[in-house]
Symmetry: D2
Subunit: 332 residues, 4 copies
């Protein structure tokens, strides 16, 4: 199959969160989490992190309901967009080019409803923005470095794995296998850039987005982020952690924004430069998989997810129940 | 009352943990937690931390049951021991001098059953031991700096507060008050040395020891300690945290040793140099008191405690139920 | 001698830096160093750190020349001030009470020219200010916790040691001894509060102040402080370090403010609770004394110092050359 | 030119240091620096770091003189080795396949004397070794994660830049330009994997190796590495830093091993996922380039380098003087 891949997805690009109170969300992400506002208009706030040299990695968009309007991958060149357009058209999937006023600071942007029913955008160009990496006097709290990945739920995660690897050219860094004898893939951590993942595809009711993963500069950033959240009155928005995942080795904390959108602040994963390496394999019911150490996740971490939207109607898509059970045996 | 205090307790001295497998306990505290073995014999292992210039701050003693045989405060001079002997004799409390073979590396050591029924020792002299603070090539994992405090349960914590402050000269750094209208003290953090506490006295079934508090060199030590525990196969011995207490501002993790004895690794409290300062006051049901941020404590953190022993018979003392409720309202 | 000490100095209190551009100095200490402005008037900016519960630990005062107008120790009670007044009067040293407009937020304040010719103030009361320790969303960069100590130069450091220990009740934590056979004290680190020092008294042309020592919350604070300084365009104000002292075990960096006043940001020293402990003794020419590891100090670190002022005329006091050589043999 | 690149170099592979006392070197790199011994024989010690899943990233080889016998890049597949063999043969450069006993745990290994006269090896396969990333109980001190890069000196760094980019397919992350009007490249930081560099090519007498760069897990690792070195008696082996480079944003310290071989411990660089990005450009005489903050480098850091060897005779190659001046104007 991979012989048919004639485009080059280079990395996770951005995610667009829907928020009901734009001002409140902006203050949360900028003043407490430590992202930077590049630009805003009446409907959007465009945020970037300290490693970014481009305009945004997170967009906040005013909407009546929270959730994820879409997430986007960056591709290497403009021609890749046309090849992806052809591919999704051939697959008879919904596809459209974003209107000019829907792609501030972005070049041509293709929006598709992929075969897993996720709203996914692709773009090759984004306007540059001042680099903040060495503007240390402006760094705050957890000090986010980049949008690293999204983590999504789909009713057949094995099929999701195949879609991303066989059709889009992702490589697996780590895999969670379901029960014998099939050992069907229950979740996979898939990358294009040389980290553990650009996207994780998990078994569950979908299409749903579980979280966006934002990387931090160093492990103390996880502690400083929690401190800043609590100091600002957001202690209850810390949903899970700090703890360490077995998978990916991430030291993490999961946070709900004031609208309930979920993101992970994390650090400590590793380079995946050797693309031919065998993926690490974990058993679903190995408790060290999810929690190498740390408190058990609350049940809502497994049960609450962000809605995904129809790219033509803009409406939330109702989820389909998963083929495999959605929660490991060790969760109470 | 304080006019009658004619001795000077200077600080928390050491704690003696009872362990059923001395070798296993030694390997846990030395290889994983990062304490140092100063000396051992058939029945004991003597441990110190990197700030210690004396022989031990934790003693592991082989016993048929886990628990705390006693904990000890250091006093300024030998005469203080005689004055304490007189005080406890006047109070008609059980009191005895430890036999030579029960006080390795210690000078004269007075052991008493105090009015709260705890087994408490006092000593003025301990043999010196090489200072490890700048032996950085020997530091490991969480890097414990000192035994900082003990935390105990007693059925009338208000009376416990008065005993320590009025009779022994401790100062309160922070106080948890019970419900109106009495605002009876539910717990207090009491110091002689200039940190938040040498002892915390909490409302609960007692006499019981909740935990020993071991300070770390820096906040990353909490993360490194968890990592080392999980790497060595002890992830399930992490009972609570990492998280931050409102009280004392400590960044902490609670750990159960292989026998179930509980200790806290913590960092981030503050100096209490201004002894005349008003103590910080917290309401029992303020959730930020126990957990400034972080996951909720498991119920066993509230309900399981270490037994305390009779200084004459060596037998565990059955606990008495507390006057006030023992668990805050916000615990499930 | 110590029998005659009828007062209780509790700790280093504050230092007043003279600055030629009050606005520039305020922006440097607040926006880059991370101190907090409690109050200001046309001539002064009052700063505090995150552990402070009182109004100020550093005062910036507008003046035609940089330097230190005076530094201050806190005492336990008002009566201590009268006893100190009597002592300095008996010694026929210049002494005066600060006028109301010279002691914003302070109670009665005694200012003396001590026998070493330093301008030193004493006070028992200071107005309280909101505690910032748990206001983590307001913490920035190196995150200073408190003014910890001053380090001063005097031509006869042995005499200075005796003055502080015998007349004022300080205890030595560490001592640098000069050459055999006398082993005259070349420098001493002296404490009242339970850290390594409230004041260090070094051999050199004096009276001069070498630096004020400001403690940080954790070792990463030293790195973050350097990053913030460089990001804000102040890289050249970093004079020495980061490195670690053998003496005091401090991880440190020395910084010159925009007027050239010098302070140290440091972390990593230890508690000095056991006041009867023998001080650690170092040989002057042991290179690990000054620099346990790290780059050699530049010569100006040894040769440039802050001027000290006459409490009656307000004029700088010309320094007297030291009895012993002022620079160790290992400095180029 | 890049049209002719028919092979895929994936990353820096390993470096072989020559050491005069194998036991002493092994103890230094393992016990103090925190690398892990995978295997040893009479002539070699094979070391790996915690991110490595393969046998070695640093080889210590017993030799009469210190220096670098060769460094190696990993390629994607065996065919790449044949294509590289053809390329170097066409260029009439010395080339040979390593004998079986010279490539312990490695597959076929091609050794060449490249056009810059460096001894460089290429290999596609290396035996796997247990992953230590989550064996936290075995982590020590600075906790090296991987061999990240080498930094080399060549008399014509502009030509070196062209060789690596045009002939071997490297991409520039950052560039130092010489004086106007030519702006000839004085140094370049070139990558294949998605970090700032696999190799830096600097102007200077060459062929010489300036240092090997070893990445650490987090910024505190730089402090812990210095502490461990000093604790073990190696404080004088710290040659430069801790400080931060402007180029690459690395928080670093340079260390000389007991034979004088130089390596850098560093952390804090950034991902170079966007391969089409314009490189960052620095002026040679911008002092923030080399030292974003920190003490000035000692002159020996500029003047002392590791010798490079002839792949046929095994003898050190005498260096040629550079075309441009070798030391920036701001070095004393």
């Amino acid at each position: 199959m991979s012989g048919s891949i004639d485009f080059n997805i280079t990395r996770m690009g951005y995610i667009e969160f829907l928020v009901t109170d734009l001002e409140r969300a902006r203050d949360f992400y900028v003043d407490v989490i430590g992202l930077y506002e590049t630009e805003r208009d009446a409907e959007h706030v465009y945020l970037r992190a300290i490693e970014d040299r481009e305009h945004h990695c997170i967009v906040l968009r005013k909407a009546p309901q929270p959730g994820v309007s879409h997430f986007a991958f960056k591709v290497e060149c403009e021609e890749d967009l046309d090849r992806l357009h052809a591919k999704f058209t051939t697959l008879k999937r919904p596809v459209r080019w974003l209107a000019d006023n829907q792609r501030t600071a972005q070049g041509r942007t293709l929006l598709v409803q992929d075969p897993l029913n996720f709203a996914v955008a692709f773009y090759a160009e984004m306007a540059s923005a001042p680099w903040l990496l060495q503007k240390y006097h402006l760094h705050r709290h957890g000090c986010p470095t980049r949008l690293d990945h999204v983590n999504v739920l789909t009713p057949d995660a094995h099929r999701g794995y195949e879609w991303y690897c066989n059709d889009l050219g992702f490589r697996p860094a780590e895999i969670t296998e379901g029960e014998a004898p099939e050992h069907r893939i229950w979740a996979s951590w898939l990358y294009r850039k040389a980290t553990v993942h650009d996207i994780a595809v998990m078994n569950g009711p979908g299409p749903r987005v579980h979280h966006a993963g934002i990387s931090l500069m160093d492990p103390m950033g996880v502690i400083r982020a929690c401190d800043a959240l609590a100091g600002a009155g957001y202690a209850d928005n810390i949903e899970r952690g700090p703890a360490r995942h077995g998978i990916s080795n991430a030291l993490f904390v999961y946070i709900r924004d004031p609208d309930g959108n979920r993101f992970e602040l994390y650090t400590g994963d590793y380079l995946t430069t050797d693309r031919n390496s065998e993926p690490l394999r974990w058993s679903l019911d190995n408790p060290r998989r999810q929690t190498y150490w740390g408190p058990p996740p609350p049940r809502r971490w497994f049960e609450e997810h962000m809605s995904v939207h129809d790219i033509m109607t803009g409406k939330p898509i109702p989820p389909t129940e998963p083929l495999l059970r959605a929660v490991p045996t060790y969760v109470d």
